[in-house]
Symmetry: C2
């Protein structure tokens, strides 16, 4: 999204551009919005300001996820879009901790939730996550501008640690909310500096004590529709601005520790070496080969060598293997094949190998009736939105275990993602907001 | 070297153990003595204390190398081992900057220099470097204890940045001294944090302005004999405590930059990826293969991946390739072969490749008459010292371009080097001191 002139407050462009500088690394142009860091706290402050500006009720949950509620107006207030909410509703706004079930939930039905996340991978792009949050606020603006009054509450969410970039578990906020991860395990997760999630939350002023499954909040949600930039080129190839997700490939992350012995690069005879770099390299190529054979994905994008001297055989290599496939059995076969090569090559080099699954997300089929309803709502507005599978994990995939979920994708012409080069055009971003507004109008009307 | 009881001052064990704690990482037991860091300054203070204790004249050169001189006593002082030097000699002690040629140099001939270095690779062992410096002081103690008076000066050196662990150029101190590296290039060398050598020296209180070739100092040196722990298992296999170096294999270091494009590990189709990890892995295996084919060495022990996210294709991989071979043409052929694979695989993956030679040391043949004289001096004391080639670079190899040099190796039973597991037994360390004392007695007598 780019704009020559300064955009007006309350517009998509204003929202978008006010978030752009937060956590951007000036050297690379990429984002480093890691959860519970100063950049993340700035993102949270931005979310709160956007919600307050719209007089949405702020109600962060106890897992570090942010929620902004457009409650159903009480009798006599219908049509007062953007108006003041009754004191009983506003009292919970902005406070942390558990949130009492809104009194209107029973009357008006469960909420239509939308949103995405604000955290990033290292040197990530501007769109992955934030586009869904900004579009949610902008869609509410669009609905209010046309005088729409929701018959069911609409909630905008920003989930914590979706990328897992700091603590290694993707979708951590939604996993905690739905009970998909044990709170004790989550509290003990460590970042690269050995700081636990519990310590990081505490330092950021969020009590890590009450994290974990939140049935009260889940019970208030009727469905979740996440808008996200597409992370491949399918929409570009189909010449469509927006699409609807079919499902998410099963995917997982494995940490591989190759343990050898440091030695002198000049004097240690090859036969006597226990060089962990050799089985590591063989594993990289085996992963690529396994993915090529099955039309799937396998990637090693993070590796460290210890002690890391240019003139020494390293003592240890630690790598993270990311594998995704169209279905579970294919994924399992790939992982078996890759780890078999890693094991054989480690044995051949007298190197120890430990492979540990750090995260796993089974295949997600998004709710078909909900997807059909999205397609119909879009078609009614003249928007054609093809269906797409995706290899990327999302909070929508985690929430799918507990409530109907759906996703809207916005075209990404180059298909590049998790990179500063990730991009969506202004017109496609606007089309995304229009599509999300159409969906919310249909679901909450 | 281990000792149950506290060793007495002035003994090898005391010297050795007083240096042991400096710069040791308590987590790994390895050393992190990087030049011009606090650990390095502690090593320098240790050297100065050891020299002062022996009333050796301290005269650091302008390239950051430390020198402690046992000058030839003036008439009437012969035999006063450990005695006080005349004020005119002592005036230069401990001060930096250029050093006036000692007035005795002309009369007594050029000096017999010995020593080694105190810096380490990351997580290096205790012996690589320090054993030569400690043994030099201990050999002087042994000579003095028997009432030896040198007819030529004896100098103990500790060369700066021998490992190149901080600024990437091995033997930096001896290269500067002999003019083998341009001072401007040296000043601009950067460490991993972007700190230049010039800034690091300045911060440590050493003026980087006058670094560079020092003909005055070289002119005062007659030869250099470096004692060093062996970095392979040759002496263990030959059942000998000490050996004499034949020569140093030619060796060099190349920095490889693979530049691709960051992308999403789940959504980016394999065909569209520009993943630098793939050609990197192929290069690791090609390097091993090239070394196997030629009975040589090729190692990648240092690698970084940017941005280093577990769920993203990385945008760049930077690696350091270390290659060593018995002769220059073999080394050249190996590097050509490895870089050819790196280039082909980079092209196939649409990845950019830059290969830059960071350092190169041609083959060194140590001075044969000097080696023969060492062998004869040792044989006269009943010490059998076989001749060995080595794949490791040393300051002795750099100095060999300007003066006769030789090396003594001390047995390393496991052959492990550049690792905390590096070790020499107490008896072998003592044998090394005895051998070095025999050599100094012969050369300076």
């Amino acid at each position: 999204m780019s704009a020559a002139a300064t955009p007006a407050p309350g517009t998509f462009a204003f929202l978008w551009e006010s978030l752009l500088p937060v956590g951007r690394d000036p050297r690379t142009g990429g984002y480093r919005r890691f959860s519970w860091t100063p950049a993340d706290l700035d993102c949270r402050a931005w979310f709160e300001a956007a919600a307050r500006h719209r007089q949405l009720r702020l109600d962060p949950d106890r897992n570090g996820n942010l929620w902004a509620w457009w409650d159903v107006p009480v009798a006599g207030e219908a049509g007062r879009a953007g108006g003041v909410f009754p004191p009983s509703r506003r009292s919970a706004g902005g406070s942390g901790g558990s949130s009492p079930r809104a009194s209107s939930a029973g009357e008006a039905g469960r909420a239509i939730a939308t949103g995405s996340h604000l955290d990033s991978v290292p040197d990530g792009g501007a769109y992955d996550g934030p586009l869904g949050v900004v579009s949610a606020f902008a869609a509410i603006d669009e609905l209010r501008a046309e005088g729409f009054t929701p018959a069911r509450p609409i909630a905008v969410a920003a989930f914590a640690e979706e990328e897992g970039a700091r603590f290694g578990v993707a979708c951590l906020g939604s996993r905690l909310l739905t009970g998909a991860i044990d709170p004790d395990r989550a509290r003990a997760l460590e970042d690269g500096d050995g700081i636990t999630l519990a310590a990081a939350m505490q330092a950021a002023g969020q009590d890590p004590g009450p994290i974990g499954r939140d049935e009260d909040l889940i019970g208030r949600l009727g469905c979740y529709v996440e808008l996200h930039i597409e992370q491949g080129r399918a929409l570009a190839d189909l010449d469509a601005a927006v699409g609807i997700a079919e499902g998410i490939w099963p995917h997982g992350r494995w940490r591989l520790d190759f343990a050898g012995q440091a030695d002198h690069a000049g004097t240690a005879a090859l036969a006597g070496r226990r060089d962990p770099m050799i089985p590591y390299a063989a594993t990289v190529l085996a992963a690529r080969q396994a993915a090529v054979e099955r039309g799937a994905r396998a990637t090693i994008g993070k590796v460290t060598a210890e002690p890391g001297a240019a003139n020494a055989v390293c003592s240890a290599v630690r790598a993270w293997l990311d594998v995704r496939a169209p279905d579970g059995p294919t994924l399992e076969a790939m992982v078996d094949q890759i780890l078999a090569v890693a094991g054989q090559e480690s044995d051949a080099n007298r190197v120890g190998l430990t492979a540990r699954q750090e995260s796993f997300s089974p295949e997600v089929e998004f709710d078909l009736p909900l997807a059909d309803r999205l397609a119909a709502a879009l078609a009614a507005r003249g928007i054609e939105a093809p269906s797409l599978p995706t290899g990327a994990g999302h909070d929508a995939g985690v929430l799918a275990a507990r409530l109907p979920t759906a996703m809207l994708f916005v075209r990404n012409p180059t298909g590049v993602s998790h990179s500063p080069a990730e991009h969506a055009g202004d017109a496609d971003c606007t089309a995304g907001v229009t599509a999300l507004a159409a969906v919310l109008r249909d679901l909450a009307g």
